[in-house]
């Protein structure tokens, strides 16, 4: 019996964001944008969805007089990501 894949992580961009954040303590918005090769607008929308789900935390601050957006994964996000990867692997293992 296949387990349902988390719909929040089901889109490539949201999955890419969470995969990136799982390996770092924190990352700037521009860094995530460059790594995921996405547009700022698109990224912003998807990050807000992840934030609303409680998977990531977004901190807005000033650094050297410039606004800076820093993102980090939450413990809930880590748990969801791990579960997603486990479920994904079970799909692949049972395929002929």
């Amino acid at each position: 019996m296949f387990k349902d894949l988390d719909p929040i992580l089901h889109t490539p961009l949201r999955l890419a964001i969470v995969s990136l954040l799982i390996s770092v303590k924190e990352a700037e918005f521009t860094y995530i944008r460059d790594k995921t090769k996405s547009t700022a607008g698109n990224l912003s929308v998807q990050m807000n969805k992840l934030k609303d789900a409680g998977y990531i935390e977004i901190r807005k601050q000033f650094k050297d007089n410039y606004p800076q957006t820093v993102c980090m994964i939450t413990p809930e996000g880590i748990k969801a990501f791990e579960q997603y990867v486990t479920n994904l692997q079970s799909y692949l293992n049972t395929k002929p």
């Binding site: 889109t11 490539p12 990136l20 390996s23 303590k25 990352a27 700037e28 650094k63 994904l88």
Partner: protein, 209 residues
């Protein structure tokens, strides 16, 4: 593979796993070193060790002056590298390894300076006649730093270098003559700093090209 990701597109399970791997590796690659720091420090320490060996061998006067200039030079280099790093750019991401290394770096240099201060205080208060064998301590504590770096970077040559420096440090406690301690140290630095530093440099060039 996944150029311009959009939230709507549908990809297979295998592609999703590939995407996860790509992103994780991409973040991991952020923590890399070009080895220049190791090479610069390696050259300074190698010259000081080997130079002191030759000065003792040929009974030249003032055999410790090379070591006495190492630390001021080192402090100046650290100062310059901190300013250059700050100027270059601020970090756009902070990996767990970077955070750990930064914290351990502070602890390491604090320990090193405390050891130097302690040794100086010892000689200041003990008429300078006692023959304390302290050289090995430096190599042992440097080996600790190399081991942590090598482990965090998953770079085997640095770990092997650390083991060689541990062996050299311990050996110095049983080597009676100062000049042979210096020669042992020079070999440990050559194999432990300069060779891994050069390999890191080559690796970083390859990654950039």
């Amino acid at each position: 593979m996944h150029e311009n990701l959009t939230p709507e597109e549908n990809i297979s399970e295998a592609e999703k796993l590939e995407l996860i791997h790509q992103m994780i590796n991409s973040a991991r690659d952020e923590h890399s070193e070009n080895g220049l720091g190791w090479i610069v420090w390696g050259i300074i320490l190698f010259v000081a060790s080997l130079g002191t060996y030759f000065m003792l061998e040929y009974q030249l006067k003032g055999s410790f002056w090379l070591w006495n200039i190492v630390f001021p030079i080192g402090l100046v280099l650290i100062f310059i590298s901190v300013i250059r790093r700050k100027k270059r750019q601020h970090k756009r991401s902070l990996t767990y390894a970077q955070e750990l290394l930064e914290r351990m770096g502070i602890g390491f240099f604090a320990s090193l300076l405390a050891m130097i201060a302690g040794i100086n205080l010892y000689f200041m208060t003990s008429n300078g006649t006692s023959d304390i064998e302290f050289w090995g301590f430096f190599y042992i504590i440097y080996a600790f730093w190399m081991y942590i770096h090598g482990s965090a970077l998953k770079f085997r040559p640095l770990i092997i270098g650390a083991v060689l420096n541990w062996i050299a440090g311990v050996a110095m406690f049983v080597i009676a003559e100062m000049k042979y301690e210096m020669l042992t140290g020079a070999i440990a630095i050559l194999l432990g700093y300069l060779v891994p530093g050069y390999l890191l440099f080559v690796q970083s060039k390859k990654l950039k090209s």
